[in-house]
Amino acid sequence: MLNKIYDWIDERLDVTPIWRDIADHEVPEHVNPAHHFSAFVYCFGGLTFFVVVIQILSGMFLTMYYVPDIENAWESVRYLQTEVAHGQIVRGMHHWGASVVIVMIFLHTLRVFFQGAYKKPRELNWVVGVLLFFVILGLGFTGYLLPWDNKAFFATQVGLEIAESVPFIGTEIKTLLAGDPTIVGAQTLTRFFAIHVFFLPAVLFGLLAAHFIMIRRQGISGPL
């Protein structure tokens, strides 16, 4: 049945070469943990991506209940966690995933660093990787404010003051992020929400695409 549908589409659109090109290639022996167990270090990139997918999915579902408004944000999080079916699990995935993704990206970076996999011709992919790291840090920073509890509020207060310590343009950066020169409030929350849910994910997708296209072009770095 599925085969028939596939053949019907393939006959008209010739999709086989497209997915072959993306997915059908051999995993070199030196990155396959079945051959050398130590090759598990090659899994961290994939695991980082896996957790990012979980963040995106769980985040999309959280926005069904979450409201970025100072009157309602905390109540909406309380409601979605305690009264919506599986709310504890879905919020839990996003909450813990946010930390796990940092751990994974860090381990992935360590592997690339200590194997020297960033060297020519892969310097550009190292640069993209560092940008990905910053974007993910940004997602963690902006997401942390969203539950609008005391911890969120003061963490953001601190983060904003750190931003303010940048020489010359610090005050401007802080006002731009917070939406107000002095208040951490309604406008901060809506801005952080927009950045967390629209701006940074958009940048994230672009960088991920660049990261993966480069890997397909250059292949995985050779055995040590």
């Binding site: 209940y65 309602n72 109540e75 599986h86 699990i89 879905v90």
Partner: protein, 169 residues
């Protein structure tokens, strides 16, 4: 691979099946809570509200009077008081009727005696109901205006926020 026995599962097929199976199971375990989360409003069902005092029985007349009353509403995390309206009057049998102003066509709000002297009228698609709230043939509504459940205690009329279709006659 051997094709001596046609029914034999090849190593490649076996690996394919197990990987798809285990992967599918893991994927499902990941997605299932999120689907439950999303369809939660379907699982919640309707809540019923308490009766609210609206007016004294001796104020009720034969002509529909618009009365408004407040009910507590819990909309997810948002609790508020919302205003509801009812048209209260004695019908031709001398029974109390408390009608909902929600048009039975597509849910707009009807008003009394706006278009014609003794009819309910809905401005959205010119729906009309007679003085007893029964829909007038040839206009869009398909059934009479719904009715609030009410109770009378010590000469006071109380309405429950729920409405129901009017049975028969």
């Amino acid at each position: 691979m051997s094709n001596k026995k046609n029914n034999q599962v090849s190593r490649r097929q076996f690996l394919n099946y197990t990987l798809t199976g285990v992967g599918g199971f893991m994927g499902a375990a990941l997605i299932a809570p999120m689907v439950g989360f999303a369809v939660d409003p379907l699982l919640k069902g309707e809540k019923s509200g308490d009766f609210v005092y609206v007016l004294d029985v001796d104020e009720i007349t034969e002509t529909p009077q618009k009365v408004s009353f407040q009910v507590d509403q819990t909309d997810g995390w948002y609790e508020s008081k919302v205003e509801k309206n009812a048209f209260v009057f004695y019908d031709s049998n001398g029974d109390i009727l408390a009608l909902s102003p929600v048009c039975t066509h597509l849910g707009c709000t009807v008003d009394w005696a706006t278009e014609k002297e003794d009819e309910f009228f809905c401005p959205c698609h010119d729906g009309r109901y007679n003085a007893e709230g029964e829909n007038i043939a040839g206009t869009p509504p398909t059934e009479p205006l719904h009715e609030y459940t009410f109770k009378v205690e010590e000469g006071k009329l109380y309405l429950s926020p729920e409405t129901h279709a009017r049975g028969g006659a």
